[in-house]
């Protein structure tokens, strides 16, 4: 474990350039200008945690196994441009990232383009002005942009996920700059996602480690099956890690209009997941031809070449939530594969 010793740097106030040059020289940041984490700003950020210990260890983050305390998280939150009201969301996101099922060592070190998607649920999304409407995945909203960016800065500075050393991603991804969205609870016909996975607190966050969103466009369908056939088609692609790794999840971010069409025909979240499980399939023989190495469930290895196989091993791996505004574009977020999503309550 690496606990970084606090250091104070004195910067002449006269030049913003000098400050940014210091960040670059130290190898800090994501390449974009950052806010100086002065003592006052860090203390203001920590005020969101009230009297809780600023030096309490929240997480140890691999591959560097750096220690994230509230203070260290606050420093990165200031650098990313967060406001104090976003701080509990960020602290909770870091807690979720350190859950063993996330497999953060693999997520950070793989050659894949994976980035942790942070989904904000419930009251915290409203209170923090997170965008769950038009343009929810960005750009343009301070809360989404800066909280997502702070997650990345912490992965870089604390976890050591630096391209070339701790992050071996072959091409990287724009989702590695900032990847945060809020659930559109008001437009979700099935209630909140967090509650569907057993988290009944008024606010929660989910971390899903996957690719950047893949668009699903359907302007004309009035039946759920027609919309979901297009979702299944987007899920069914040989290039995704889900193809050879059966434990991989999918997050399906339905826009409110697609969700409404499904719901108005009586379809629940699990109906949608079951349908997609049965429709997002490939031929087993073709899959064997495409991938010599297959991380499949034992029963899947017994399938005949003429059988079909789903892109994931069970319907429960297909997760449905609602986000976005008017219009008929949904998206899917395939998984890195060797990881499971985690949902936790928001705690300061």
């Amino acid at each position: 474990m690496s606990l970084d010793t606090p250091q104070i740097f004195k910067i002449p106030d006269s030049s913003e350039r000098e400050l940014q040059d210091l960040f670059l020289e130290k190898g800090w940041g994501d390449g974009l200008p950052m806010v100086a984490p002065t003592r006052d700003r860090v203390e203001e950020m920590l005020s969101a945690s009230k009297d809780l210990d600023p030096d309490e260890v929240i997480a140890s983050l691999p591959p560097r196994d750096g220690i994230a305390t509230r203070r260290i998280i606050a420093v990165n939150a200031v650098m990313a441009g967060c406001k104090p009201e976003h701080f509990p969301v960020l602290v909770s996101a870091i807690r979720a990232l350190s859950a063993p099922e996330i497999n953060l060592r693999g997520v950070n070190a793989t050659t894949h383009c994976v980035a942790p998607l942070l989904i904000v649920h419930g009251k915290a999304a409203r209170d923090g002005d997170y965008n769950s409407g038009l343009g929810a995945f960005g750009p343009g909203n301070l809360a989404n942009a800066t909280t997502g960016r702070a997650v990345r800065l912490i992965l870089h500075h604390v976890a050591g996920a630096t391209p070339g050393t701790g992050d071996a991603s072959t091409q990287g991804s724009p989702a590695k700059y900032s990847y945060c969205v809020a659930e559109n609870l008001d437009s979700s016909p099935w209630g909140g996602y967090a509650r569907s996975v057993g988290i009944n607190d008024e606010s929660a966050v989910t971390i899903h480690c996957g690719e950047a969103p893949h668009n699903v466009h359907d302007m004309e369908s009035s039946e759920p099956s027609a919309i979901l056939d297009k979702v299944a088609s987007t899920m069914t692609s040989w290039g995704q890690n889900n193809a050879p790794i059966s434990q991989g999840e999918y997050f399906i971010a339905l826009c409110p209009e697609h969700a409404s069409t499904c719901s108005s025909h009586g379809w629940s979240r699990s109906d949608i997941a079951s349908y997609l499980f049965n429709k997002a399939t490939v031929n087993v023989g073709e899959a064997r031809k495409a991938f010599e190495l297959r991380a499949w469930a034992p029963w899947q290895h017994a399938l005949e070449d003429t059988d079909t196989i789903s892109m994931t091993e069970k319907p429960e791996n297909i997760k449905i939530f609602v986000t976005g505004g008017a219009g008929k574009h949904s998206c899917i977020i395939p998984s890195w594969g060797m990881t499971k999503s985690v949902t936790v309550p928001i705690l300061p």
Binding site: S2, P62, P63, R64, R105, G160, G164, T165, G166
Partner: protein, 61 residues
């Protein structure tokens, strides 16, 4: 001892260090393994035998 490919040597060193094994014996072989013919991979393995023995039996540097 760990075997990695040349392109991932730095990453391997960092992970080893983060796990408290900064002096881990690391052998690098050619890159990439995926998509390279079996004949060439076997050649890389043959070429690495002597260094593997040295790393397993020699003093840590």
């Amino acid at each position: 001892m760990v075997i990695t490919t040349e392109s991932f040597r730095k990453l391997t060193e960092q992970v080893a260090a983060s796990l408290g094994h900064a002096d881990l014996r690391i052998l690098s072989v050619g890159h990439p393994l995926g998509g390279t013919s079996e004949e060439i991979v076997r050649q890389w393995a043959d070429d690495a035998v002597e260094e593997t023995i040295n790393l397993l039996t020699g003093e840590r540097i």
